[in-house]
């Protein structure tokens, strides 16, 4: 009997979960920041996709993965900026603009891909990893979790930083106030529009980096529509996490783990239709909701436009 579940294979499963979960995590984290500030960011799928495109383009043209991630973040912010302008400054519907931006980003990246890459399908070389001394030698988990491209550690750090900011800083208070009672924030002398704009741009940056991670590390290539609904899963993750960044991380990794489990089962020869397995993460989340559903504590002013002096 050949050992199927070798260390190498297990490692690749853990790695697969991480690689699939990380963009979801970044999207969910970004969404959470927007929501905390009172903006229901439906455009996040478009931000991811544009980040995936621009990140790939920059990484491919410059040969620098770091510039690529920067480009991805900027790509996400380029989609977030109109969201900030239209929804926060002009007060247009966040859902309409969000869907519009997603549609637009899908169309535009597919068009650009058609004219730029459709003949050559350029691909990136392997991304260099950074082994964390000590930890990377843990069997199975070490190579999967602690010998990764540095961006992975940065993304984890982003979770911790976000949690810290939410909990322990003035910015965290400002975000919460912007989402729960913008008038109070305004009265306290803080510009609500600025807080929300920064939140949405940060969301764009994180989602864009998530998209860039998909194209640069996840796939090594950009293809149209490659985010495949990851942004919407990010929305679900953010809402499910109810303001706690660590829950976003856990949820994203759960999703990734489910995908890896699918592969593991198939490779082991257990043949369940992939559709059934794909339903598992959603069914799990729904089960949690049905069993433990309480009043979801969403920001009170979520999705509403703030106008000073109006009531």
């Amino acid at each position: 009997m050949t050992a199927l579940f070798t260390d190498a294979f297990l490692t690749s499963l853990v790695l697969g979960a991480l690689t699939a979960g990380l963009p979801l995590m970044l999207a969910g984290l970004g969404e959470q920041i927007s929501e905390k500030a009172g903006v229901l960011n439906i455009g996040i799928e478009g931000m991811m996709l544009f980040g995936a495109y621009l990140g790939f383009l920059v990484a491919y043209d410059t040969g620098s993965i770091w510039l690529g991630f920067l480009g991805g973040g900027i790509g996400g912010m380029l989609v977030a900026a109109p969201m900030a302008l239209f929804c926060i400054r002009l007060g247009l519907s966040q859902i309409v603009i969000g869907i519009a931006l997603t549609l637009g980003a899908e169309g535009l990246t597919a068009l650009l891909h058609h004219f730029q890459f459709a003949q050559s399908y350029p691909r990136l070389p392997a991304v260099e990893t950074l082994a964390i001394p000590g930890l990377s030698h843990i069997p199975v988990l070490g190579p999967a979790l602690f010998d990764r491209p540095p961006i992975v550690y940065l993304a984890m750090l982003a979770v911790a930083v976000t949690a810290y900011v939410f909990r322990y800083t003035q910015a965290g208070l400002a975000l919460q106030a912007a989402g729960d009672k913008p008038a109070a924030l305004d009265a306290a002398g803080v510009d609500v529009g600025r807080v929300r704009t920064l939140a949405v741009l940060t969301t764009g940056f994180l989602a864009g980096v998530g998209g860039a991670f998909m194209s640069q590390v996840g796939a090594g290539i950009f293809v149209p529509f490659m985010t495949n609904g990851a942004g919407f899963i990010g929305i679900v993750l953010a809402m499910q996490a109810r303001g706690r960044p660590l829950f976003v991380l856990a949820g994203a990794l759960l999703f990734g783990a489910c995908l890896s489990a699918t592969t593991a089962l198939q490779v082991a020869g257990v043949s369940i239709p992939t559709d059934v397995i794909q339903m598992l993460p959603f069914a799990a989340v729904l089960a949690v909701l049905v069993l433990f559903g309480r009043r979801a504590s969403l920001p009170l002013a979520l999705g509403t436009h703030y106008v000073r002096g109006a009531r």
Binding site: L173, Q176, D180, K181, A184, A188, G189, R308, G309
Partner: protein, 537 residues
């Protein structure tokens, strides 16, 4: 802010509109700390402030009076950065300023307690205090809590700095806001109806505090609808009416007039010449008939903050039973349970002998039980809907306004016109969104909705909260008329004067229980006071 007007302001000052340094400003300041110079502010369809001039001197409490919608909030809004004047100028220390945001106002040393709560309910008290600090800094929670404790001690209130604001009663929240404004160390403090939610004792403490603050040279703008407070705490009084400044009563004149004459004068200024003459007729006592109409037995309600238990109350036709007590002692829970909005944990309710505790809101209403909520915008109305529909909010689908479920526009409009006329609702039209009306007019619409038709028993929850003197008078008259028509009336109020003026018997609620019931006689004031403060069992 046009050039001409600022120039005008400069001349006005140069012309030597010299303040009379009365006892109120011991520092004898040479010029006002704040000047509003012929400011005009228009909103769609209204001139909220029409060339209003207003001076605020250091070391004085300047009271702003005026009926609902007179433009008081708008005027101070231009100081606290909520609004920019359309015309006219704002001068701080004699220099023209553009106060374009609340942040700018705070920078200039203007602190405001707004009419509507400006606290984040999901944050703790101390975090609310911390809002607005530098982005990446950690809020100094301990330091703020200490500072807060000091200020609280000053004004004689106690607030748990770690309590979530959302779990505090409205009165407590207002205290938090006052404390916060004081903690900011503002040179100018604006209090827009800050006493509305305080107990009389709390209001007195706040008044004393204002007195101490102005001695330090701070200037206070104090907006209130309670004339006794205005006279007790204020040094100078400005009266607004229909957006115009009617007059200013200087400190000298105020002390010269004495309380009684000043009151008459103010009412004349606020409402015109005849208003002062109307005396408040006191409610003719009637012997309660033997058979109670509304009977409440052993009522209990589960609630996270204030569970209510063991309430027994009988109300006869034509009787007004007042429920006094400090805000947040279960009055709301009690009223909602009787009205059918909340589940009873235990108890029985009978209306005219018929058990109604199992009926829903609509069923109870059809039998004649009515509830006038104190949360006019939050639950009493749908702000974006026209008045006509809001008047029928509790009768949706009933004939003749709907037939076979189909709307009958003529019937609805006719009903609305009748109600608006009968209850004197001042509105541009019956199609106007009710949220655009002033609080007083919304209240009239609510009264019209609840008192029309076959009403038999009515619960009024804080019916005059936030209303001006004239609207208060009109509302109280409605309550009396309701009783005179033979309705059983429960009057829940935090305003002891109101209960004493209207009620036949007075129950006092404390911590979800009725701690005592007294007849409204000469001794009632003291008895109720004792019960409210928990002095006697």
């Amino acid at each position: 802010m046009t050039q001409t007007l600022s120039a005008h302001a400069a001349t006005a000052n140069a012309n030597g509109k010299v303040p009379s340094p009365g006892p109120a400003h011991p520092h004898g300041a040479a010029r006002p700390i704040v000047t509003l110079d012929h400011v005009t502010k228009r909103f769609p369809g209204v001139v909220a402030n029409d060339r209003v001039s207003f001076d605020l001197w250091p070391g004085e409490v300047h009271v702003l009076l005026g009926e609902n919608g007179a433009g008081k909030s708008t005027l101070v809004g231009m100081l606290s950065g909520l609004q920019l004047p359309d015309e006219g100028g704002v001068l701080i220390d004699g220099h023209e300023q553009r106060i374009s945001s609340p942040a700018r106002a705070l920078e200039l040393g203007i602190g405001t307690v707004f009419q509507h709560s400006m606290l984040v309910p999901s944050l703790s008290v101390v975090d609310n205090m911390a809002l607005g600090g530098r982005w990446w800094s950690r809020p100094d929670r301990e330091g703020l809590a200490r500072k807060m404790a000091a200020v609280c001690a000053d004004i004689g209130v106690t607030i748990d700095p770690n309590a979530k604001v959302g779990s505090l009663s409205l009165g407590e929240q207002q205290q938090v806001e006052i404390v916060r404004a004081l903690m900011r160390g503002s040179r100018v403090l604006i209090l827009d109806e800050a006493t509305a939610m305080l107990t009389p004792k709390g209001a007195d403490d706040l008044g004393a505090l204002m007195g101490r603050l102005v001695k330090l040279g701070i200037a206070v703008v104090f907006i209130t609808h309670k004339l006794n407070e205005a006279l007790a705490f204020g040094h100078r009084i400005t009266v607004l009416r229909l957006g115009r400044r009617v007059d200013e009563i200087s400190p000298e004149r105020l002390s010269a007039l004495g309380p009684a004459a000043a009151t008459a004068e103010i009412i004349r200024l606020m409402f015109g010449a005849d208003a002062a003459a109307q005396a408040t007729a006191s409610h003719p006592r009637r012997a309660p008939s033997s058979q109670p109409l509304l009977q409440i037995e052993g009522l209990a309600v589960e609630d996270d903050s204030v569970p209510v238990a063991g309430i027994d109350l009988d109300v006869s036709p034509g009787e007004i039973v007042g429920i006094a007590g400090i805000d947040g002692n279960g009055q709301k829970q009690f009223a909602e349970a009787v009205a059918g909005q909340r589940r009873l944990a235990a108890g029985r309710i009978r209306l005219g002998g018929q058990a109604i505790e199992r009926l829903d809101v609509g069923g109870r209403r059809r039998l004649g039980l009515r509830y006038v909520t104190d949360d006019r915008l939050g639950e009493g109305t749908v702000g974006t809907f026209p008045i006509s529909l809001n008047l029928l909010l509790k009768q949706v689908g009933e004939a003749p306004f709907w037939r076979h479920g189909i709307e009958q526009p003529e019937a609805i409009a006719a009903h609305a016109r009748r109600m608006v006329g009968e209850f004197d609702v001042r509105t541009p039209g019956i199609e106007t969104a009710i949220g655009k009306l002033s609080g007083g007019n919304i209240q009239k619409a609510l009264l019209a909705r609840e008192l029309s038709g076959k009403a038999r028993a009515v619960i009024f929850a804080k019916p005059t909260y936030g209303l001006d003197v004239q609207n208060i008078r009109a509302t109280r008259q409605r309550i009396r008329e309701a009783a005179d028509r033979g309705l059983a009336v429960i009057l829940i109020s935090t305003d002891l004067e109101e209960v004493l003026e209207l009620a036949d018997r007075i129950a006092v609620m404390s911590r979800g229980r009725v701690v005592g019931m007294v007849d409204n006689d000469a001794a009632a004031r003291n008895r109720v006071g004792e019960l409210m403060s928990g002095a006697t069992p």
